[in-house]
């Protein structure tokens, strides 16, 4: 008897979900035809960053919001408090159940999200990854902030300039399994080996994109390598924590620090001489482009095939490259001369 009633409840729940799903599909169709008739658009776009409270993603999501407002769609932002491989799954499932038209994700893990993302795509949601990609078969399009080669090269160039192209350097990364950081680090090593024989990479440590951990790892790096000439931190949390430690240590001005950072986090450290120059793309434009890409997919203007072109508001026209990837542009260098022009 109990088993039966449980079964009944499960069946009822399933039916209810199915009905809601159908209802959602129906309203989407209505929205699409309305959008076709008038200037308005009801494309729903949901941003799912690695975690909330991260200024980098807040800026990219703000860019996405600006784009969605331009084309008159509905914007939403959801995400976990802390970045973890499976923390995003429940948000993907919810977005799929709501039947959003485009889900814009920065993946915490290349494979852990695949089942959920593919389930969402089967339900009709277009999946765009940005910042951190998943395996290509789990998404429709990846918006690349810059090529990995470009990012690795700008960091190698900056550290080489700052330490006179010779000496020991170390890398302070994010989590040990962070997709993009690991790809960049491999390319940094190749670039160093090929073009900078006098620079020696002595250590790579992981600050887990946590202020305290990154701060403590920086202290350990300096203690462990007395001859260290420079630190490269290809993560915004890492570079600002390292700058905080360096700015109060005897190594300030002696050990160079560069990498990828945001102007707001680094402003004080550039002004007090701890940091000379660091780089980043513009995350606001990254989010903006991702939202337009999501809309182009949802409208059926593009399918994500190589050679497809679409308009992204005031950024102009973009072309889809190999592996369904769209490239934003080259990294930008921030230093004392230009940092006050940026606020993110």
């Amino acid at each position: 008897m109990r088993i039966n009633s449980k079964r009944f409840a499960a069946g009822a729940a399933l039916a209810l979900v199915a009905t809601l799903g159908l209802a959602a599909c129906g309203s989407d169709d209505d929205g699409g035809s309305d959008g076709g008739g008038g200037g308005g658009d009801k494309t729903t776009v949901t941003f799912l960053p690695k975690n909330l409270g991260n200024p980098y993603f807040e800026t990219s999501d703000a860019g996405g919001k600006r784009a969605v407002e331009e084309f008159g769609g509905t914007f939403a932002e959801v995400g976990p408090d802390t970045a973890g491989p499976d923390a995003q799954v429940s948000y993907i499932d919810t977005a799929a159940a709501q039947g959003v038209n485009a889900l814009i994700v920065s993946a915490n893990d290349p494979t852990a999200l695949c089942d959920s993302l593919n389930a969402a795509r089967e339900a009709g949601t277009k999946v765009v990854t940005f910042d951190s990609d998943t395996d290509p078969e789990c998404r429709d399009l990846f918006i690349n902030q810059a090529t990995a080669e470009g990012i690795a090269k700008v960091q190698v160039d900056m550290i080489a300039e700052q330490i006179g192209d010779a000496g020991e350097i170390a890398i302070l990364s994010a989590a040990a399994n962070a997709t993009n950081q690991n790809a960049w680090i491999d390319l940094i090593k190749e670039d160093l080996a090929a073009n900078h024989p006098n620079i020696k990479l002595v250590d790579t440590v992981y600050g887990d994109d946590d202020d305290q951990t990154s701060f403590d790892k920086t202290a350990a790096l300096l203690a462990d390598h007395p001859n260290l000439k420079g630190i490269v931190s290809p993560t915004t949390v890492g570079i600002s924590a390292a700058a905080r430690y360096l700015s109060t240590s005897a190594s300030k001005g002696k050990v160079a620090l560069t990498g990828l950072g945001t102007p707001d986090q680094m402003r004080d450290y550039v002004k007090d001489g701890t940091v000379t120059e660091f780089a980043l793309w513009n995350p606001e434009e990254l989010g903006y482009l991702s939202a337009y890409a999501g809309k182009a997919l949802a409208d059926g203007d593009i399918t994500g095939a190589e050679g497809d072109t679409f308009e992204a508001g005031d950024l102009g026209e973009f072309t889809v490259g190999a592996d369904s990837t769209v490239l934003l542009g080259d990294p930008f260098r921030f230093n004392a001369d230009n940092i006050d022009e940026f606020h993110f």
């Binding site: 200024p55 807040e58 403590d216």
Partner: protein, 343 residues
């Protein structure tokens, strides 16, 4: 019938004091701590002997010291407070908010604000635990998530950066008096004051009694509810102070600041020999436990142990502490039984 009273000690006070130290549970972790510092310094003299190394050795544990002392006072009453990490995050962020609104405000006012915010949160925990008689583990697990959620909701996109904290406050994060960092001095004063209170004051001893046997304490007429509430208020206030410390040291705060540090505080207390079921342990032990935990994390990379093993080392330390406590407690029981049988 036979009497089970022990004869008064025949030893002089000096030898007794020496024996107390030698037999004390805290000595074991002091030795481990000393060993780690010596090994790391032998490998890299700058670990302690450089200006930065000396400062970091003393400064790095200051935040966890505060949390461990607060946690110890709660644990000794057979409770636990898992919300301290969320409290720390809230006050670190609130500190930034205060400075953004009023950059010239006195640092003392900010410290008091941190204490007050933390004390209010502690009072909420304490009232929930004593009023509803629900295990503190459950209540504070709940408030941990509620507070973290509220903080994330409130903070959302925002983040406190170095440019938001005034320079004089950031300097406090590394300021030293006679080479001792100011934050460490404050933390040690807290350790001494709380340790003295728990060791000598009636209220302090009652906390042990309550944790040792809550029913007996109740029957005896001890004001258990009031004492436990007080322990939670103190724990919350110290977590609030730790949040201000965190802001001064790291010059940053966001919605995730301090998440996970509550478990480090519990670990420090356990490593320090405080019984997780209450009734025994010392503030000194918890403080040394915190010192050891932080120093181990700093020393392992220098000793050439991969950082991926650091969690395992801390885990082994916790389990080792529990085993040591168990062995000591069995030996003590045997000694007492023998003493009784001989009498």
């Amino acid at each position: 019938m036979s009497t089970s009273t022990l004869a008064p000690s025949q030893e002089s006070p000096a030898t007794r004091a020496l024996h107390t130290v030698l037999r004390s549970r805290e000595l074991a972790i002091v030795i481990v701590l000393g060993l780690i510092i010596v090994l790391a310094t032998a490998r890299r003299s700058s670990f302690v002997l450089s200006a930065d190394g000396w400062r970091d050795t003393l400064l790095a544990p200051s935040i966890l010291l505060l949390l461990a002392v607060g946690q110890m006072v709660v644990v000794v009453t057979r409770n636990v407070d898992l919300s301290v990490g969320s409290t720390l995050g809230i006050t670190a962020y609130v500190t930034g908010k205060i400075f953004v609104a009023n950059p010239d405000i006195s640092v003392v006012v900010v410290f008091l604000a941190g204490l007050a915010v933390g004390a209010v949160i502690g009072a909420i925990n304490g009232v929930l635990v004593t009023l509803f008689k629900v295990p503190a583990l459950v209540i504070t697990l709940g408030t941990m998530y509620v507070l973290r959620g509220a903080l994330t909701h409130e903070v959302g996109s925002d983040r406190m950066n170095a440019q938001d904290y005034p320079a004089h406050f950031e300097r406090l994060g590394t300021q030293q008096v006679l080479t001792i960092p100011v934050l460490t001095i404050i933390a040690l004063v807290v350790v001494a004051a709380v340790g003295y209170y728990l060791h000598t004051a009636r209220g302090g001893r009652e906390l042990y009694a309550i944790g040792s046997d809550p029913d007996a304490a109740d029957l005896y007429g001890l004001p258990a509810g009031r004492r436990v509430l007080g322990a939670f208020v103190l724990c919350g206030a110290l977590a609030g102070l730790a949040g201000v410390f965190s802001a001064a040291r790291y010059a940053t705060a966001f919605s995730g600041t301090g998440s996970g540090i509550e478990l480090q505080a519990v670990a420090a207390v356990v490593i320090g020999g405080v019984a997780i079921f209450g009734g025994s342990g010392t503030v000194w032990g918890a403080a040394i436990g915190a010192f050891l935990l932080v120093t181990i994390n700093r020393a392992l990379p220098i000793l050439g142990i991969s950082e991926f093993w650091q969690g395992a080392v801390v885990g082994a330390l916790i389990i080792g502490s529990i085993v040591l406590d168990r062995v000591l407690s069995i030996r003590r029981t045997h000694q007492l039984v023998e003493a009784r049988d001989h009498a």
